[in-house]
Symmetry: C2
Subunit: 383 residues, 2 copies
């Protein structure tokens, strides 16, 4: 596979209840067009990612956004894969291009979540869980991931190892102007903050945010005509897992992520050690920890040590979430996958300034997870 | 493009409020696996179509259904394009295959609508319209299409011409065991039934239904290994249009359908006259009438005469909706696109018995419309 990323854009993430999904989308799409040197009428198809209709009561949001950004005559489609919707949209756009159905595809990924109260937002997100067999019994997403964290702590993971992850994310996130929470946090404070779902505390959990990100993908031929610095998507792997956490054989890792990573590495013809840096789905600290292992950055069971040793910082073995990750940058659920693409594209182009720059990066990896590993997309990007 | 359809399945359509989306999906998936001679673990990816989360309050329904039908380790994704969701799922599955990302893809398309009251269902569907600028002012879907019908009547379309369409659909639909409404209707009765949204009456409007359809798509190589009677998807065209009907330059035809048809014919290398029969999106009689013209079965403006002359019957110029169409078979919105694929596949295989058989059919066309032409997918199938 060789699909070009020729333009990216990003809105400010944060509490943006005053902005509609139209407004947020436009904030990301406008710079993406400028970046690519294209206009809306150049676009053949628009692939829109939004996870939750229920937040806004707007069905068919793809048509709404397509019309607003000026691509109303292009082919519209909306993709949903819970919190992995953004990367699922990128995958779909890449497939349309490789299949020869469309040549220039705009991917827009948006979520507006803070218009409803926090308890209501938590309920609406929890409705991605089985509404007959799990949701009614109180299994919210912090609860799903708390089960994994509990098991890992039973097996030896320490509080300090887990909290090393948000400390790192906030350190980089404080430098990201698009981020929701721009502040650093010390290890002591991160370890002792209020419990959300035991053992996960406030700093283990990403915030609820509004925002949008956009990317323009094209065929190899068109990308080479449009830009001297195309970034190539060279591998895509996807997998699933059981809907109910009750059916999982163990609560230590996400086997769907392992399968997706294997498929992506194989398609791109690379190995985990070749990855210069990664954007992983850290909806909770434990999710980032499992990702280190599931993606092969360290052996299974050694994610805690990897974090404690700071191997996920620039200069470490594999820098992870140098944009602040979901934890600090924020997690407008449908937008996250394309926000990861934005960061990877800019890093590989050498456009990220200062302390956040991964110098000489050649290969970026994206890991985007829906639910508790029920949807996983892994994408490989190369210069 | 050459993607094989190697198995299809269909649930009973109708008022099925006792069945969940799991149950309905299983009813379609089980016969699809039997038809293809495959089992769930053979499947690489599941593409799920469902238009409205709000009908059931279940987010991420793809994972729920994937787990229930036994494909939980396959790559899941959910597609939404309003009432064109089913064909958008087929398009996405075909693209995954042509791009070499997945080889054997299960497409499942389901909608459960009668669990809520009819007024509530009408509201939820209307929410696919712009919830800021059109929905609050009373523009439901019967109203959108009534605007088109009014304009066409102003330009000469007669009541009898329009009613000839549901008379035909009910005649064939009465013979379809999977259909929702299995009864015939005379022209007089169809012309004089109660008004829903002037000038559209009861027989101009499809019912609200529950149901599911499934199809298994594979690469050309795999299809030839699996079956002696693969049906090939050889052309796909998609287009969009403005979100708001207020922004349309005219209310006589759907320009998105014309663009989508042109692209599909070009990809398949065929012309409208080559089409042996078609499954078109007749959510309202006026929609089928515009489709005759938009797909090139008759000149623009002559759809009324085409209907009056019975050219859409078997034996006429181009048989249309020989399964009863949305009008008689029913329209579980997310399922409709794959139900069309089911009918086309069985017709091209020569499996449809009796008076509904289109003898010697070589090419089938599918036309699936979301909203008032805001999403349109046209697919070409060949033996």
């Amino acid at each position: 596979m060789k699909v070009g990323v020729v333009g990216v854009g990003h809105s400010k993430f944060g509490k943006r209840a005053e902005a509609t999904i139209r407004d947020l989308s436009h904030e990301a799409v406008k710079p993406a067009f400028e970046d690519a040197g294209l206009t809306p009428t150049d676009i053949d198809a628009i692939v829109f990612s939004l996870a939750g209709d229920m937040f806004n009561g707007q069905g068919s949001p793809a048509a709404l956004v397509s019309d607003y950004v000026g691509t109303q005559d292009a082919a519209p489609i909306r993709i949903e894969s819970a919190c992995a919707s953004g990367s699922a949209a990128l995958k779909t756009a890449a497939a349309f291009i490789e299949a020869g159905i469309h040549d220039k595809v705009l991917v827009v990924a948006t979520e507006s979540m803070t218009r409803v109260s926090t308890p209501e937002a938590t309920e609406l997100m929890s409705r991605a869980g089985d509404v007959v067999w799990e949701f009614p019994f109180g299994v919210s997403f912090p609860a799903y991931y708390a089960l994994y964290a509990s098991r890992r702590m039973h097996e030896g993971l320490t509080r300090a190892q887990l909290s090393a992850i948000p400390v790192k994310s906030h350190e980089y996130g404080a430098l990201n102007p698009n981020g929701h929470l721009q502040k650093t946090v010390g290890l002591e404070e991160a370890m002792k903050s209020i419990i959300i779902a035991h053992p996960l505390n406030l700093y283990d959990c990403c915030p609820i945010s509004d925002g949008s990100a956009a990317a323009i993908l094209t065929s190899e031929k068109t990308a080479k005509e449009l830009t001297d610095t195309p970034i190539w998507i060279t591998g895509i792997g996807t997998s699933g897992d059981t809907m109910q956490v009750a059916h999982r054989p163990n609560l230590t890792n996400l086997s769907g992520a392992q399968r997706a990573a294997k498929a992506a590495y194989e398609m791109a013809g690379i190995k985990p050690k070749d990855v210069s840096f990664a954007e992983v789905h850290d909806c909770f600290s434990i999710a980032e920890l499992m990702a280190y292992e599931d993606l092969g950055f360290c052996p299974i069971g050694e994610g805690g040590k990897f974090a404690e040793d700071g191997e996920m910082y620039i200069g470490g073995k594999t820098p992870v979430n140098i944009d602040g990750g979901l934890k600090s940058k924020g997690h407008p659920v449908g937008a996250t996958g394309v926000s990861q693409c934005y960061e990877i594209t800019r890093q590989l182009r050498g456009e990220v300034p200062g302390k956040r720059a991964v110098e000489g990066a050649e290969i970026g990896l994206q890991h985007n997870v829906g639910m508790h590993g029920t949807f996983v997309n892994v994408l490989i990007y190369q210069r």
